[in-house]
């Protein structure tokens, strides 16, 4: 796995990517290697089938959602920059802010708390209506509990969850309510993959 910076030539727009996502050259090279590994037919982009070759994802209750998150709606392929941009959400937070300063203060880095939460929110909200409705929540619960409990229990759990979080009483969880319900959880810590720092 000893990619050196000379491999950067293989990667299009490496510099911009690095600046945008905050990954270092070594990380980018490593991710590119992985990308190429997954890209079985060497097309330069990944399709859903490529993701399914990762065997553990099949066992993951929300595996299909995760795969779907990589693809923009309507598209069937994801190229390397998009791949990296998604993974940038899981980069551990920088201790120093100077890196982000270079970026231009307007653009929040992908691994800020808000952006991370937005990513997770979209995983819940499959119909993309900006809220987690009861149906969305039920889908998630069904997937996670893997048919071990029956419908009424799921309904009651979903009911309770929405009651707890729903502050404006519209029977769905908006992004702000979602964020509020997670305020005690240390998202930066939980959503960081160490080797990506």
């Amino acid at each position: 796995m000893g990619s050196s910076s000379s491999d950067m030539s293989h990667i299009p727009d490496a510099q911009e990517l690095m600046q945008e996502t905050g990954f270092s050259a070594a990380h980018l090279a490593r991710l590119h290697e992985r990308f190429e590994f997954l890209d079985k037919d060497d097309r330069g982009e990944l399709s859903p089938e490529d993701f399914s070759t990762v065997s553990e994802l099949a066992m993951n209750p929300i595996g299909d959602r995760i795969i779907a998150a990589f693809f923009s709606p309507g598209q069937q392929a994801v190229d390397f920059p998009s791949f990296v941009r998604i993974l940038a959400h899981f980069r551990p937070t920088d201790a120093n802010r100077s890196r982000n300063g270079r970026n231009g203060a307007q653009q929040e880095p992908a691994n800020s708390r808000t952006n991370r939460l937005k990513f997770v929110f979209q995983l819940y909200d499959q119909d993309r209506d900006g809220k987690i409705s009861r149906e969305d929540l039920l889908e998630v619960l069904r997937a996670m509990l893997e048919m071990q409990v029956e419908e009424e229990q799921l309904q009651s759990i979903a009911e309770r969850a929405i009651q707890e979080a729903d502050l404006d009483q519209d029977d769905a969880i908006s992004f702000d309510e979602f964020r509020k319900s997670l305020e005690k959880v240390n998202i930066e810590h939980k959503m960081s993959i160490r080797f990506l720092e």
């Binding site: 992985r34 929300i62 997770v120 009424e152 009651s156 309770r160 319900s181 810590h189």
Partner: protein, 814 residues
């Protein structure tokens, strides 16, 4: 960590009489202090008297002179040891009580300091009385009786998740930090001892190895002291688990170093081979201890699987297995503390899934009680042992030791943090480092280890003991007292309110899955990957073996949900029934909100409820009330084997009334709601009643006879997740355990009521669960369902006391 002292100081009394409290305290101390020497003094007299008596009687037997029959005789000898032990325990408990009656004192001075002072006083009194101070901090007593309860309490309630997440850091501090401390202190002390040419004291006699031994004794952070002090400052979870975890895990290091140096101090040299053996020994000690603990933990979990019929002794298994783990580890000189921790941590998830609610409460309270008393006793004994001596004060040695302890700790923490932060996601700040360094308290373990030293091998033993005591006093008094204001001053993050919501639970699990997935995509076998694998293994194999019945399949989310529901139902009932509607109660979406917002699709499923005339409601209520009270009287007989008599008994009538009120209110809401998925907290009971009444059936309740039919061979604790039955987590309050043949099962009555409903068809009563068209062939399921309900009931019943502590799945260390 909820305070183990459970402060319920009667505020009025305390505030109005702090002097009275102080007076009471001194009186108590004097009393206890005087009885003990009396006890010690009287025994030789008595035994002498008894002896002479015996001779007299023997002589007398020949002469047959009759002495008057002794109406009142004093024979202290027989009960001396248990008597004195009880006296000490009583003293400890009264002290604890007393401190909370004096409000201001307990907020300034941590309890441990006060207890040491009390110990000093008592020791002083005993000495004044001219008696010999009993060797209270005898190492055997300490290590075998006083220490295990505290460690078990800590281990059983150890918050696993933060512990595992920070395991690397904790190990670094425990192992490397302690080693550094030991060698630094030992080495520098030796150096200081050598460069004292002018000092005619016998410091020169001090060899390197005894110095290192001393260093290893004094360097270990003490879990008892840490617990005692940190408990009161409510610091955030991370720091707490770091310091506390370190204090637990450094036991292995201490054991190895201690034995290594003790072994070779006589010989005078330690070779490289010995060092290597020491390292291997460390691994053996640490891993062996954990292994022993884990084995006993699994045994305990397995045993608890079969205890469904003998609930009364369930807590005993937990305690005995843990204690055996400790003792077994001690046989082989493995780390007993680590064994105890491993045992508690391993057995807990499985045991808790198997045992009844009451047993759970019992375990919790016994552990807290024992550990509390132990801790108190330890500190008092420290005080007494200080008075006892033997002391050999050496200014140089002692002062250098104290300074070195502080310096070594600070350097160690700073250095290690620098290295550790390279590997941590959440870095340790300077504030954190300061607290970790400052929280390195020494305690009774160091003293006991010093006490264990053989005087012949270690002529400097007295000096060591004096120095150890000084360091302990310094850390406990100075650091213990100042840490609270410092925490305030530095604005260190405090412990958060640990109430977990269902949302957090769902999202945390979701995030776990997400992170595992992302790790898999990246091809990185990280933290989450292994955790996921472990969970799968656990679910597939381990849970099946160790958890009884159907609960082995219960997903964690459901278990959590049930727990929450139960807690809330209990709170609801206790808080006055259905008079007010807390908005978080799931089944009672607030009445105002439902009205304007009925979603259109629900209307289709709406049914018109037969409205129950007011008179009928009253009737039902009266019937219920009278019936239940009748049964209650029957239950008064105390049956040891079934624990029928429960703490609820006195307030039971009120409880039921409140419950009924809540049921009525629920009913009213349901009339308005009529939506699909109401997880009703009370069952369909009133509606079923209504339905039955409306259909004109028999409303007669025949409690006892019908009950018997159901009871044969059923496992009341079996949790069945039936795919098609209307299983909703419902909370009922039941009178007694189902084993008692006299008990009424409320639910059975209502279930019985449900039966005719199923046959009567859909135009009956409430369609709360539209999917429950299967209610027809219910008869065969009766047993299971009732078992189910009973099982839920049994889990629900607990005495009203313990709600103050949070013992959720990811608890903070209590």
């Amino acid at each position: 960590m909820p305070s183990r002292t459970g402060s319920h100081s009667p505020a009025g009394f305390g505030r109005s009489a702090p002097e009275r409290g102080l007076l009471l305290l001194t009186v108590l101390v004097l009393l206890e202090g005087s009885v003990l020497p009396l006890g010690a003094a009287s025994s030789p007299d008595i035994s002498h008297h008894a002896n002479s008596d015996k001779h007299q009687v023997a002589d007398v037997g020949h002469n047959a002179t009759k002495k008057p029959f002794p109406v009142l005789a004093v024979e202290y000898d027989r009960v001396q040891i248990p008597f004195e032990i009880s006296l000490w325990v009583l003293l400890a408990s009264l002290m604890k009580l007393g401190f909370h009656l004096i409000p201001r004192l307990s907020s300034i001075v941590p309890e441990s300091c006060l207890l040491i002072v009390v110990g000093l006083l008592v020791g002083g009194l005993i000495k004044l009385a001219g008696e010999e101070v009993p060797p209270v901090l005898d190492s055997r007593l300490f290590f075998l009786c006083l220490l295990p309860p505290i460690i078990l309490d800590a281990g059983y309630f150890l918050p696993i998740r933060p512990f595992m997440e920070n395991l690397g850091t904790i190990l670094m501090f425990a192992v490397v930090g302690t080693l550094w401390n030991a060698f630094f202190i030992g080495g520098v002390l030796y150096g200081v001892a050598q460069i004292q040419p002018a000092n005619p004291s016998d410091l020169h006699q001090l060899d390197l190895l005894p110095c290192l031994l001393f260093g290893s004794i004094i360097s270990a952070v003490d879990p008892v002291a840490v617990l005692a002090v940190f408990e009161e400052i409510h610091i955030n979870e991370l720091l707490h688990i770091l310091v506390f975890g370190e204090s637990l895990l450094n036991d292995a290091v201490t054991v190895v170093l201690y034995h290594l140096f003790e072994e070779y101090a006589g010989v005078g040299t330690v070779t490289v081979l010995d060092g290597l053996l020491g390292v291997i020994s460390f691994l053996v000690v640490a891993l062996g201890g954990v292994l022993v603990g884990a084995i006993y933990g699994i045994l305990a979990a397995f045993t608890s699987r079969f205890t469904s019929h003998t609930r009364v002794i369930e807590p005993l298994f937990v305690f005995v297995y843990s204690y055996m783990a400790y003792l077994s580890a001690e046989i082989f000189h493995l780390s007993g503390i680590m064994a105890l921790i491993a045992c508690g941590a391993v057995m807990r998830p499985y045991v808790e899934a198997n045992i009844s609610h009451k047993s759970h409460t019992t375990i919790k309270y016994f552990l807290k009680m024992w550990s509390s008393v132990s801790e108190t006793l330890i500190f008092i004994f420290l005080g007494v042992a200080t008075v006892d001596g033997p002391h050999a004060w050496n200014w140089t040695f002692v002062t250098v030791t104290v300074i070195l302890c502080l310096v070594a700790r600070v350097i160690g923490v700073v250095g290690l943090t620098y290295v550790i932060n390279k590997f941590r996601i959440v870095k340790l700040t300077t504030k954190d480092q300061f607290i970790i360094a400052y929280g390195g308290l020494r305690g009774a373990i160091a003293f006991s280890l010093g006490f264990l030293l053989n005087q012949d091998h270690f002529p400097m033993r007295k000096m060591f003991l004096t120095a150890i005591i000084t360091v302990i006093f310094f850390t406990v008094f100075v650091q213990g007292m100042t840490i609270k204001p410092l925490v305030e001053l530095l604005a260190v993050k405090k412990k958060q309110e640990a109430k977990r919501s269902i949302n957090e639970e769902i999202h945390t699990q979701f995030l776990d899955h997400l992170l595992t997935g992302i790790e898999d995509i990246c091809g990185h076998y990280g933290h989450h990957h292994w955790k996921d694998k472990l969970n799968r293994f656990n679910k597939k194999y381990v849970k099946k073996c160790l958890i009884a019945g159907e609960r082995s399949k219960e997903p964690q989310l459901i278990a959590f949900y049930h727990k929450m529901e139960m807690k809330q139902a209990i709170e609801l009932v206790e808080s006055g029934g259905g008079v007010k509607l807390p908005s978080a109660v799931p089944s009672t979406v607030s009445m105002q909100n439902i009205q304007p917002k009925k979603p259109p699709p629900v209307k289709a499923a709406e049914r018109a409820l037969p409205q129950l005339p007011k008179g009928r409601e009253e009737e039902i209520r009266k019937i219920l009330r009278s019936n239940l009270q009748r049964t209650r009287q029957r239950l008064r007989s105390y049956n040891r084997h079934t624990l029928v008599a429960d703490p609820y008994e006195d307030g039971f009538g009120d409880l039921l009334l409140k419950k009924q009120k809540m049921i009525e209110l629920e009913k009213k809401i349901k009339e308005m709601n009529n939506y699909l998925t109401v997880p009703a907290a009370p069952p369909d009971s009133p509606t079923m009643c209504r339905a039955r009444l409306a259909s004109g059936r028999d409303t007669d309740f025949k409690p006892a006879q019908r009950q018997k039919g159901n009871k044969n061979g059923s496992d009341p604790q079996a949790y069945s997740v039936k795919p098609t039955s209307d299983r909703v987590p419902t909370i009922q309050v039941d009178l007694a355990s189902p084993q008692s043949p006299d008990s009424v099962n409320l639910l059975d009555e209502f279930r019985r009521a449900e039966q005719p409903r199923g046959e009567a068809g859909p135009d009956q009563g409430l369609m709360m669960k539209p999917a429950s068209a299967q209610s027809g062939p219910n008869k065969s399921r009766e047993d299971d369902e009732s078992r189910d309900q009973q099982q839920k009931l049994m889990r629900c019943l607990s005495d009203p006391g313990p709600s103050a502590d949070e013992d959720e799945d990811e608890p903070f260390l209590p």
